[in-house]
Amino acid sequence: MFAYAVRRVLATIPVMAIVALFVFSLLYIAPGDPAAVIAGDQATPQDVERIRASLGLDRPFLIRFGEWVWNILNGDMGVSIFTNLPVTTMIQQRIEPTVSLMVLTLCLAVSIAVPMGVIAAWKQGSWIDRAVMGFAVLGFSVPVFVVGYVLAYIFALELDWLPVQGYTAFREGFFPWLENLILPAIALGGVYIALIARITRATMLEVLQQDYIRTARAKGAGQRNILFLHALKNAAVPIVTVIGIGIALLIGGAVVTESVFAIPGLGRLTVDAILRRDYPVIQGVVLLFSFVYVLVNLLIDLAYTLFDPRIRY
């Protein structure tokens, strides 16, 4: 088990290296002159040269990449072209709202979606199953910012139950924090809930066909016991895997959700950086998100043994 964990951790290093290489080389594979694009239309040739030098585009690719990786390993992600602040500082200032939003969404989504999928599978073909599947396909089809606006319009503007926009730090109290985040979390959770509910339903349908479920029924086990103990524990591995993969959706969605609800997080930072073509910041945020994503999925991989005794490394 331990040996496997070590091997699995080591195996993520090449993946992370490729992510880093990819994020870095975007500057080079982009069509046209990135320095000119970043400098903008009103830039003088001197501006373009200055940006070219600050991005290191005037030096050989491999040397520049080596430097960049070395700096990142030393905690230096470069300096923003626009604010001249270190990228790491800017990320630190913006990380709390994003982590709050994503953790809340994750908890909310899993606790809604898994029971939804389980019940849909149990009542396969019934109106409740159709409703869950209908909701799931809607969740995939309605963009996150549309959900955000609809929710904000109904619950904040019309009903005036919740604030329209903004963020309150967690240290200022749980309820103010929750009040600001609940709408964004529901909006962001839509696709994620759809994804988890669908995989839960599909896996449960398969598991419920299994002979051991019939055995459990023949023993006189009750429906809830069968669904949530006998079946769900067997369905856990695929569900947990999808929860991990789906974090990519949360990350992408957070960028948009934070814009809709004016949450000063990493997503806002990304959008602002794009509008200013502040490439070091974009690189830094993309790299950070990707690493978090890889790490979360690594942890999930290692957690499989908790759910299935057949998986032994």
Binding site: T215, A216, A218, G220, A221, D308, P309
Partner: protein
């Protein structure tokens, strides 16, 4: 005389499918006395497994639908509520399935799976249930029960898993045990051990057994009475010796003819195994006449047109065939 332990009357289990109604079981009646072993035999797809699942109401409804009556100790199981039915399953009637490899839950340990019935029906605590599970494992002949109880199904062999299934089924001392092809998936040597175990336990526990099988060898070894099913219907029923000696229904004769006999030479032409030609008819079509007519060597126009009733051809021996003679009648 008191009513038998189980009386199945006119059982019909039908399934709705996209291209018609599958009449898996269509009008089957039989009974089981306390402590008796009754075998239900027939080819795969004849409805014997569906019959056994119908008794415990394990058929999903919809797409299935069970009709008729199943009286167990005087109560009609088909009229019970689901919670009342749950109190019977695994407690008064329990079941062993064909596939020991897949019938145990892979993510729960053995002790928990045996203990579950005890906790459900006898309200034992987790610890007492586990202690009882160890006892049950010892009873079904599993070595080192104290260690095995913490193991998972994938760590056991097929024969061991079937022993665990038996332990689960017998944990609450059921009055009726339904065994659906309990030995089919096992090696021949293991089969014999499991049959031996079942026979021994039947005597200690005193449960009646409904044994579902296609293996006439198994029937001869353990059953007292045999019900022969074909295409969703009962075609013959008789005490085991009587059935083997004087099968009255051509289908039963075919079944017995297709069984190799010990001691006969395999090279002789006369001992060639007989086979029943043709295929089981689709259960989605209504057959006006005898269900076996399409494969029966003796079938006539009458058989195709009129379905034969079950008639007592000899004492305690019924068969559904126009041409099966009653005892004492003179063959023409």
């Amino acid at each position: 005389m008191a009513e038998p332990l189980l009386v199945v009357e006119n059982l019909q289990t039908h399934f709705r499918t996209p291209d018609g109604i599958n009449r898996a079981v269509d009008g089957v009646s039989f009974h089981v006395n306390a402590g008796e072993t009754v075998a239900i035999v027939g080819e795969s797809g004849c409805g014997k497994s569906v019959t056994s699942m119908s008794i415990l109401r394990l058929i999903p409804e919809p797409p299935g639908k069970i009709a008729g009556s199943i009286r167990f100790q005087g109560k009609d199981l088909l009229k019970l509520s689901e919670p009342e039915m749950r109190a019977i399953r695994g407690n008064e009637i329990s079941m062993i399935f064909q596939e020991p490899m897949t019938s145990l839950n892979p993510v729960l340990n053995i002790g928990r799976q045996i203990g579950e019935t005890l906790r459900l029906h006898q309200g034992l605590s987790a610890r007492d249930a586990e202690a009882k599970a160890v006892e049950m494992l010892k009873l079904v002949g599993i070595p080192e029960p104290g260690r095995r109880v913490r193991e998972y199904p994938h760590q056991l062999s097929g024969g061991m898993r079937q022993r665990v299934m038996i332990a689960i089924a017998l944990a609450c001392n059921p009055k009726l045990l339904i065994a659906d092809e309990p030995t089919t998936a096992l090696d021949v040597t293991i089969q014999a051990q499991i049959l031996e175990l079942m026979r021994g336990l039947k005597n200690t526990v005193g449960a009646a057994i409904v044994l579902i099988t296609h293996d006439l060898g198994v029937v001869a070894e353990v059953a007292e009475r045999v019900v022969v099913m074909y295409a969703g219907k009962k075609v013959e029923e008789a005490p085991v010796v009587e059935l083997f000696n004087t099968p009255r229904h051509p289908y039963t004769q075919g079944l017995l003819g297709s069984m190799p006999k010990l001691g006969s030479s395999l090279t002789g032409t006369e001992t060639r195994l007989a086979e029943i030609p043709g295929l089981v008819p689709s259960l989605k079509q209504k057959i006006p006449g005898c269900v076996f007519a399409s494969r029966c060597p003796h079938a006539t126009d009458l058989c195709v047109k009129v379905a034969p009733a079950l008639e007592e051809k000899a004492p305690r021996h019924v068969a559904a065939c126009h041409y099966a003679l009653k005892e004492g009648a003179i063959a023409a």
